[in-house]
Symmetry: D2
Subunit: 246 residues, 4 copies
């Protein structure tokens, strides 16, 4: 496939009070640590306030993996753009859904359930992200767990379909557990949800978190964009076989 | 839970040319063979031409398992009703999606992928529905396979997420295979897709097909409708534990 | 199927120092709270020191669900008996593997991996067993979580294949998480692993724990014991179909 | 990881009547088409008649992916060697189980069920291997299906646990279906079962079949061989965290 073209989406570049720990915007912080990665090609950022939320057909058709961060403005994302992203994922583009992106329209729309439903609390609790599956490309290079000294607490029950793979489970000092790293395949696309990454703590500066996100990008990148076949097949495979072997 | 209240939905009661083998309507045919089942309580039918497609809040709130048959008029189902059904499924109601219902809005919306995408051919081919999982409530009483002398052919690739359970795989004399019986859990609801049931062949008169559908209803019926918890939890479980054990 | 015949197995009835909290033996404690359950028929106990470990062909053939508790003497269980139990599970008998039974020969043999591998610590820590899947027969009647004030700590990584269903995840006050309730289907049999139940704390007296175990028994009980088919099929299904429809 | 070291195992090099289409031995045929692959390093063959069946500690420790073909002599494979291979798989080595290898001790031992149980018939029937999952590394470059003009027929029910991924389903002209391409993860190892490859038809000469096997090798190769942690953890993660952050 060559290099992986990545687009990092953030709901809003403008009002810094919504992402207080990231005056540059979370999209810029993430794009920043992806810079220079030898497997990654074009790195774009796109934000909600841009025309078409920055996700034009042209941009999506040149994106292999899309990263999605959103929190307060999910309902203001246009349905038409959500559907455009969804079709691109189903045709093969990878998608990383980060932190509060669990409540985004695109995640709800791709998984079908009310993925916005989970327990949460902002109490600067210790989060310990345990690796459940080793020898997996997404957990490569991560030891037994990642420790985040101050995090937002997420807790079960989290309303997602059973993931295809459960890679991380988080422990929080307040008493909750959470399925914090999950993969899903939908259509030809691969989706990775990873919950660490609150707007008030600079978790995206942690090398282990950066490694997981890079690993997620490598994993989610499509091998190919499979062509759609004809749905109506008036001639059977057996007839075609006979003709070919006549 | 007591008896299971069932509603059988069909896209259109009126124009018989769309369901030529069932002058009474497919919904009536299905409701007919459910009659007298000791585990089933109220049996309703609802059709697309009724107000709110027959799926009012009142009807849904009194339905434990909904059966969905549609073919030609999927796009004319109101989005608002689809969303109402979806939320009822996520809160625990069971859903059986039958035959061409694979392309319905509700199935696409709950699974997130383009479930309308599959190969198909109307050629009166022999279908043999193989049981993949025995000792499962849905395949109970079915032997090794069901044979349908004349059926519509469906074939892979079928654009569904990997099912939670793969119960049946169909063989067709023209050369295709198809995942014809699949279960999915979404939210608190259970979904069973079962593909046999074309509008031109009276497959719903076959005792084995009727048995699978009844089994599917028993399986999909909720044990309970779990209550939604508070999302924001200002007090941690550990604090609550300490208070309770002070 | 009628009532469910249950056998509760324990590694050793004799030396009470190995199960200090249960002078009567853990098998007797479990059998005790199953007494009087209207869905359960014959309740047997069997222990390792009995001839054939109490698991004769006769006993197994009359057992619908077997409960397995063991800790210190796994390696002294005869391979022949393990194989006998395994074949009975594959033919449909349910199996509940409790607590340190995770390291038993039968669990390792049925799952194929080194299920003895997990972190552990005896430190009387608080365990909170979170429900991951509601509206499931095994979690029925359990609220959001179960709290065990003093428990043995188990932690990931736990070397099991990805379970068919992940029903419970435990949180421990020392900082670990653990997949504490998992279902697996092997052959025609259903297996439920449930980790709470240490020999030093009378966790099996807790009503919620008893409820989960009873629920597990109902869930694991076979609907039927499917017959084995002939492996070699000299005549094809199509030939048989033609003969039947000639 | 660098290049992938591969070992191709065959039950018996000697009696050619058992593998009539392959006078050179199936192991040699497979090793032959792997030659020159740029991702593959050392290619070894090993056969049952060699000391330790050719699978010494030294050989296994230098093998990243093992291919297993066997048919008539499964029961004569030493249990000790099977256990050695199993532990190497659990520690990360990939395993490809080919054709009648479904009945091998190593496959039964890793999956836990009676994987020898399936329907079969030698009738030179047409097999059509349908791709179920596109955009997967194992199906890359394969179109919609592979056609094998003369094959041995395998049919459901096949006694395997539900695979982690179902990649291929085969259609046979006699009327059966079969889950012919499945992946499983056990311990840290990846297992790919692929059924085409009978001893009487030179199926391993087909470029598509060779591609699937090469793809399987790339997929099964470990990223790493994770180290085993200490099981008993007298000090909790929270204590360690406090010490590290004191």
């Amino acid at each position: 496939m060559g290099k992986i073209n990545v687009t990092v989406w953030n709901e809003e570049a403008a009002p810094p009070q919504y992402q207080p720990a990231y005056p540059e915007g979370i999209h810029a912080a993430i794009a920043g640590f992806l810079e220079g990665d030898s497997k990654i090609g074009t790195i774009r950022t796109a934000t909600q306030n841009m025309p078409e939320h920055g996700l034009t057909e042209e941009v999506l058709n040149d994106t292999d993996v899309l990263l999605w961060w959103g929190h307060c403005f999910h309902e203001m994302v246009e349905d038409e753009i959500v559907e455009r992203v969804r079709q691109r994922v189903l045709s093969g583009m990878g998608l990383l859904v980060l932190h509060s992106g669990h409540a985004s329209k695109i995640f709800r729309r791709l998984l079908g359930s009310n993925t916005n439903l989970l327990r949460w609390r902002e109490a600067k609790e210790l989060e310990r992200v345990w690796v459940i599956e080793k020898n997996h490309p997404i957990t490569a290079g991560i030891g037994d767990y990642i420790e985040i000294p101050e995090s937002e607490t997420y807790g079960e029950h989290f309303d997602i379909p059973a993931p295809d793979e459960l890679l991380f489970i988080s422990w929080y000092s307040g008493g909750e557990v959470f399925r914090s790293g999950c993969t899903f395949k939908r259509g030809h696309g691969r989706i990775f949800f990873f919950s660490p990454g609150h707007e008030s703590f600079r978790i995206y500066d942690m090398p282990q978190i950066q490694q997981v996100i890079k690993n997620g990008i490598y994993w989610a990148a499509p091998l190919s964009y499979p062509q759609q076949f004809e749905l109506h097949q008036p001639k059977s495979p057996n007839e075609i076989f006979k003709e070919n072997n006549a």
